[in-house]
Symmetry: C2
Subunit: 243 residues, 2 copies
Amino acid sequence: MEETVEGLDRFPHPHLAVDIALLTLHAGALHALLLRRTEAPFAGALSLPGSFVRVREAVDAAAARVLAEKCGLRDVFLEQLFTFGDVKRDPRGRVVSVAHYALVPAARLQAVMTAYDLQLLRIVVPWPLHQGGAVQVVGEDQKAVRLAFDHADILGTTVQRLRGKIDYAPVGFELLPPQFTLLDLLEVHQAVLGRELNKDSFRRRLLSSGLLSATGRQRSGVAYRPAALFRFRATGRGKGKKA
Amino acid sequence: MEETVEGLDRFPHPHLAVDIALLTLHAGALHALLLRRTEAPFAGALSLPGSFVRVREAVDAAAARVLAEKCGLRDVFLEQLFTFGDVKRDPRGRVVSVAHYALVPAARLQAVMTAYDLQLLRIVVPWPLHQGGAVQVVGEDQKAVRLAFDHADILGTTVQRLRGKIDYAPVGFELLPPQFTLLDLLEVHQAVLGRELNKDSFRRRLLSSGLLSATGRQRSGVAYRPAALFRFRATGRGKGKKA
DNA sequence: GCAGCATATATGCTACATGCATGGAAGAGA
DNA sequence: TCTCTTCCATGCATGTAGCATATATGCTGC
């Protein structure tokens, strides 16, 4: 098989990249994983990890490679999000980006944060969050931080996708450690949806959903009645994770 | 602004295309718009309309251009679907395709079917329709027709997207003429979802959704009690259509 | 014109999910 | 042992979907 399309290579065509919007839950709020750019354009600004797609590399493989190379992360939840194809989204020239989103429990990031020089910034969702709109990220001083390229749009689209998906797909578990309480899971849903949920309805719905399996263990170290620990139940066709 | 990314142009990079999965409702069943290829690869086979993305053209603009140039259709519902990025999806070389899907009432296709040499084939959805799986299209002899490239996968993903979206987004109207009865709309939903729906619940849900506005007119020419004709109510922020 | 017919439309009933309130259960600490 | 706080179970009101039934309506054949 040839590597190129005959007769078309002499014409300029768009470059193709992948960008990864990696979200995690930290202190009860959604945070995005960002890294600081060292080269122009947007030198010094924060951006999503990304890379150009190689000519012999599948797009989803490129996304997994970015997570491995730039963040030291493998075997995390990773799905394609949306392709951003505006002509002027990259000042260097024509670059189309196939954005992906990844979900990781905060505990897994501890080890790689400093080794890979990563930043974790809180996501502030404007209200209302319009279709395809951007979100803000804020640093520890709670000041808004400007992101490179259209990466604020990518994060906004990610939050929107999560909100639409968390009610019918088991994605909340991806933000939690293997064992968790129902309140942990509730807080994940609340952080994603940006609103409070009824505890009792949530409990009944999740317990009757068949997605949870009791571990028989309990949360230890709490001053009051300990909550039961659950585990996500793999439903036959894998755990919804991609390599 | 430059057209290219400095330092990278000497390296081969993937080509970028758009493909359009245009669906319509014909004889109570979903049909896909296809055209017959005249050149290799897959010469003689049916394929989705598509094109390479030009370097000064936004991806969504390329999708609209394909519909205009190859099908004579403008101002139809058109949204990005998914980007297909396998290395071997095109035998000519590395071509990544940003698939889109379009929805058009069958009446609008009458005029362009022959002028643009288009084919309308019925979509047969396997059961169950697994994540990202392909569907079959059948000709008038009810025999399965093999599509070029991974276009059967694209159609499968389209049906799946529609099924997830039709319950909370007003996409069913895109497959109907401006005025329609509740039974028309019900049949659209049934064709998309692949199962029967309760008439009364559907009626109540739609009437109380605020999406419909009565025209005061009735379906004429039926032998029995005529049904009221409704129109889709534009809800302020446009009609959900893209150019 | 009138009875018959097939569908449209309205209404009532049941089952179930959700929001909310109440009360017992469980473990830690005084 | 008592108290505190949260977990967890249960009961009730409400809203919606599925289902059945009754009425409305316009056409057809006589």
